[in-house]
Amino acid sequence: MQNFTYHRPGSVEEAVQALSAASDGTLMGGGMTLLPTLKQRLASPSDVVDLGGVAGLSGISEDGGKVVVGAMTTHAEVASNAIVTAKIPALAALAGAIGDPAVRNRGTIGGSIANNDPAADYPAALVGLGATVRTNKREIAADDFFTGLFETALAEGEVITAVAFPVPERAGYAKFPNPASRYAIVGVMASTGPAGTRVAVTGAGACVFRASAMESALGGGFSADALSGASVSADDLNSDIHASAEYRAHLVGVMARRAVAAAG
């Protein structure tokens, strides 16, 4: 780890100020990706702005029929929160299977989606449930938020404050974990409700994407059987030592059926 200046602001405004004053600053949520990267000297920011001291960024509430999760809410909290488990059990289950207990008790939803790791679970939750990302500047639909490999629509000085999830009629998440890292080789969130019928896939491509053919297939009825003929193309899917693009494409089908079957 190389030296950097550490900031722990008390408000979003102070965080933005610290960031803009830095020559090469970075925000830190739970630090579950940033800290290992720093330790391995793969990143060497001049300033680290820790959002852990910002009041009001953590916690879960209901707001106008939506479940609102503060950006600094940990995965463990999402997994066990009474509102989430009652309204969107698929989201609670997804959060409860991220990483390991240490990661779930440190890692945050805001940190995860800002990083937009192609194998992370939360991007599938946001897109698959039709969520909205709230920042200090605006609201961004999940469909527009995740723009590419480790890329998001966040602008300079923009800080995620919360994620608002509409409550689906039915939703399910199925994940095929990488046996080593337990990140998603393929993860599929399928839902139907006020945000329409959605099938969002993480892990398989460079960035979370919606499987439109599967969404159409589910239009006639939200059941696993409806998906029997639907598939995704292996073109442009990831291929690595753990899974080829062809295998990932196959798994998208299997996980989509399992997600729908599991939907409560």
Binding site: M1, Q2, Q40, R41, F176, N178, P179, A180, S181, Y183, I241, H242, A243, S244, Y247, H250, L251, V254
Partner: protein, 787 residues
């Protein structure tokens, strides 16, 4: 049996400090004034170095020294030596040198280019980033089967065609003749996948130099401190052995990767004198992946010849085995004499020939990993046996029974050097089949089918050769050391017993097991016995721990030393009891005059020997301390049967292990709880290899693709089944304890049992590891998939 003697599941003494965070690991040691080292490692798998500019690094804050291969050469340091050169080599026998820091070229990703020593670790790392190295990249090869191709770039000047040696064992002519007469030949091509041992504790070394008496101390994570002292003192530093002390206190796992003498150990010791301060280096996990020795990495073609009754006639094997980029301390042992001699398994195979093409590749050096050669041999034999059964239509159990070495054939001379001392295989198999409920498999299979799952059952009946080794055999096969073990038993006036053992514990529980042996042998309280190991200044001599040798060889040395103390004690007792020594009997800690109630306890004899006011001083010296250098008469031959049952999800290819039964014959068992733990760990290790763990280098660039736990999959608790364990007991006839050894058995038995179960479920051959995608693809390749 007492509650602390042989056969008792005594809780491990050492766990008190391990579980309360009071272990004494090398990284816990900090010496006054110590400096910190970090190493600049090669980012390339194969490259010439045209120049190294250390100027900026030397001037960086806190930097004490920056050293390269030129400095190593200027000081006349010897290369890192190899401790084993196999005999029986056809030709040639190429042993290229390995300087402690590279000189002119790098041969694998992680090779040591430069060493930076600074006041603190971050300063050393900052400075290492300032070193400029002018690399000229060369084509790299990571595949043992391609190493000798004419198109493959040569790695070492001293090894033409990247060949270390072409080695063979067995009667080739007789084997070929048997194949010519065979009724059926079963052939197999397989890869024994490269593994990274991944000890929990990364390597760590601290060098120190004492100007007052011109001596060095090396604190290091090694399984064999005396062997490390010999190699480092005599070959690298070229100083008298007594001027180097090696301390290896608590070590957090080794699995073979802490046997070799590593260049980092030599470098911190050398530089401690050079910079006048202790020098400490602790590997980061990324460095462990890159630079710890790896295991396995075989590419093999094998054939089994059978007659019309399914009897084995002959076995013919050719293996291309990698040594990695350099010869590690015992690298060539795992690929030769720990491999081919166990190819006879539990079977009568009249003719066997095994040829091994041993090569260099642009990868981390290979050395022993739990089992070292024996897992590779067992995997191929047991895969062949089940394939032969399928091809001939003979039941997989029946074909084994037909070919087992019968109980009355022991001692049994195999055609590949080893003479098995003892064994009784059929009862092991019977017990395992019953415990695994083989008879109920079809019912379970039908149930699995109704749930859409594919169920399979696989078997492995293995033998192991461990308790290495008789020193004359060690010499005959090419070892540079003897392989006896030493023990010293010392007695305090008040009765306490301290045992100094040359075995080394790094997780095995020796402090408990060895104390049980002493308590049992001498009849003294278990709590009065302490075991000392891991310090060349305290322990007389030792060869360390590997090859499941600690109990059979190290434990036997302790037993013999105890017996010597008993013999002397009888003379003391005879004097005290005014009886003839021939009338003194020793039992349960008491010396008794035969046929009387006159007796003296062991404690009383210790006191009389240590405070010899009433002692036969004319006949013998006071004191009772004894020492043994125990040289085993043969290897030991544990055997067993493991049965694995799997269920496979055909949609994803995921293999779930649903049942695991292991019946093992380890001879006498000292501590059943510790033995069960060793089986659990060994089987987990083997399951890791068969299902999860795979070291992958990029075939083009030679980069390590599995360089962290994000990509290298270690088995976790939820990957493992419950283990159903049983034991039979055929005591070893040639050591004083009747013990055989158990540390490696699970890692040997598990891979074939598991892969055989997967093949039974899916109906097609598959290589390790049986990852979900591989299994899914195999299922797609089945003819019925098209239906």
């Amino acid at each position: 049996m007492t509650d602390t003697g042989i056969g008792a599941s005594v809780r491990r003494k050492e766990d008190n400090r391990f579980l309360t965070g009071r272990g004494r690991y090398t990284d816990d040691i900090n010496r006054t004034g110590q400096a910190y080292a970090c190493f600049l490692r090669s980012p390339h798998a194969h490259a010439k170095i045209d120049g190294i500019d250390t100027g900026a690094a030397k001037n960086a804050p806190g930097v004490i020294a920056v050293l390269t291969g030129d400095d190593v050469a200027a000081d006349g340091l010897g290369g890192i030596p190899c401790g084993f050169a196999p005999t029986g080599v056809q030709a040639p026998h190429n042993a290229p040198p390995r300087p402690a820091l590279v000189q002119g070229k790098v041969c694998f990703v992680g090779d040591l280019v430069a060493m930076v020593i600074a006041d603190d670790l971050n300063q050393a790392k900052d400075a290492a980033e300032l070193i400029q190295v002018d690399y000229q990249e060369l084509p790299a090869n990571v595949d043992p089967a391609k190493a000798t191709d004419s198109s493959t770039t040569r790695i070492h000047e001293a090894a033409e065609n990247n060949l270390y040696a072409d080695w063979g064992l067995g009667d080739k002519e007789a084997t070929d003749q048997a194949f010519a007469q065979a009724h059926h030949v079963t052939k197999i091509d397989l890869i024994n996948n490269r593994q990274i041992p991944n000890a929990m504790e990364p390597r760590c070394s601290i060098g120190e130099y004492d100007q007052a008496d011109e001596s060095y101390t090396l604190y290091t994570t090694t399984q064999n401190p005396h062997v490390t002292r010999l190699l480092l003192a005599a070959y690298v530093l070229q100083i008298p052995e007594h001027k180097l002390r090696v301390v290896s206190a608590d070590v957090g796992g080794g699995f073979g990767s802490k046997i070799p003498h590593y260049p980092e150990e030599a470098l911190v010791t050398w530089t401690a004198k050079k910079v006048g301060r202790p020098v400490k280096w602790t590997a980061e996990r990324s460095e462990s992946f890159l630079s710890d020795t790896h295991g396995r990495d075989h590419v093999t073609r094998a054939e089994l010849a059978l007659d019309e009754n399914g009897k084995f006639l002959a076995l013919r094997v050719h293996t291309s085995a990698s040594l990695g980029a350099y010869l590690s301390t015992f690298g060539a042992m795992s690929t030769t004499y720990l491999y081919a001699p166990v190819l006879s398994g539990q079977y009568i195979i009249p003719a066997i020939y095994c040829g091994v093409t041993i090569v260099f590749t642009n990868t981390a050096p290979i050395d022993a990993e739990r089992g070292a050669g024996r897992p590779e041999a067992t995997y191929l034999v047991e895969r062949l046996v089940e394939n032969a059964a399928r091809e001939t239509g003979i039941d997989r159990i029946e074909i084994r029974r037909r070919n087992f070495i019968p109980e009355d054939a022991f001692p049994y001379q195999t055609p590949v050097v080893l003479a098995y001392d003892s064994g009784n295989y059929a009862p092991i198999l019977d017990k395992a089949l019953e415990m695994a409920d083989r008879a109920g498999f079809e019912t379970r299979n039908a149930d699995a089918k109704s749930r859409g799952k594919l169920r399979g059952i696989g078997f492995c009946t293995y033998i192991e050769a461990c308790g290495i080794a008789p020193s004359n055999v060690a010499g005959a096969i090419g070892a540079g050391i003897g392989l006896y073990e030493s023990a010293e038993v010392r007695f305090a006036v008040t009765g306490a017993v301290t045992v100094f053992t040359g075995s080394h514990q790094h997780g095995q529980g020796h402090e408990t097991t060895f104390a049980q042996i002493v308590a049992d042998r001498l009849g003294v309280p278990f709590d009065s016995v302490d075991i000392v190991h891991g310090d060349t200044a305290r322990v007389q001599w030792g060869h360390g721990t590997y090859g499941s040798r600690s109990l059979a060889v190290g434990g036997s040395a302790i037993a013999v030393a105890c017996d010597k103390a008993i013999e002397k004690g009888k003379k003391v007792a005879a004097h005290l009891l005014e009886a003839s020594v021939t009338d003194i009997e020793f039992k349960d800690g008491n010396f008794t005059v035969s046929g009387t109630d006159q007796s003296k306890s062991f404690g009383e004899i210790i006191a009389a020997a240590m405070v010899p006011h009433n002692f036969p001083l004319d006949e013998m010296e006071p004191g009772l301390d004894q020492r043994s250098f125990y040289d085993p008469k043969n290897f030991t031959f544990p055997a067993g049967c493991h049965i694995c049952e799997v269920e496979i999800d055909p949609d994803t290819g995921v293999v779930k292990i649903v049942n695991w039964t292991a019946v093992d014959d380890f001879g006498k068992i000292v501590n059943p709880m510790i033995v069960e733990g060793q089986i659990h760990g060994g089987v987990a290790h083997g399951i890791g290899q068969a299902l999860l763990e795979n070291c992958v280098y990029d075939p083009e660039s030679g980069q390590l693709l599995t360089g962290s736990y994000m990509d290298y999959c270690m088995p976790r608790a939820d990957d493992l089944p419950n283990f159903n364990l049983g034991f039979t007991e055929t005591p070893c006839p040639h050591n004083p304890l009747g013990v055989k050894g158990c540390g490696e058995a699970g890692a040997i038995a598990a891979p074939p049992a598991l892969i055989n179960a997967v093949i039974d479920a899916i109906g097609v051959d598959i290589d390790m590891p049986a990852t979900p995608e591989k299994v899914w693809r195999a299922l797609q390749s089945r003819p019925q998939a098209a239906e």
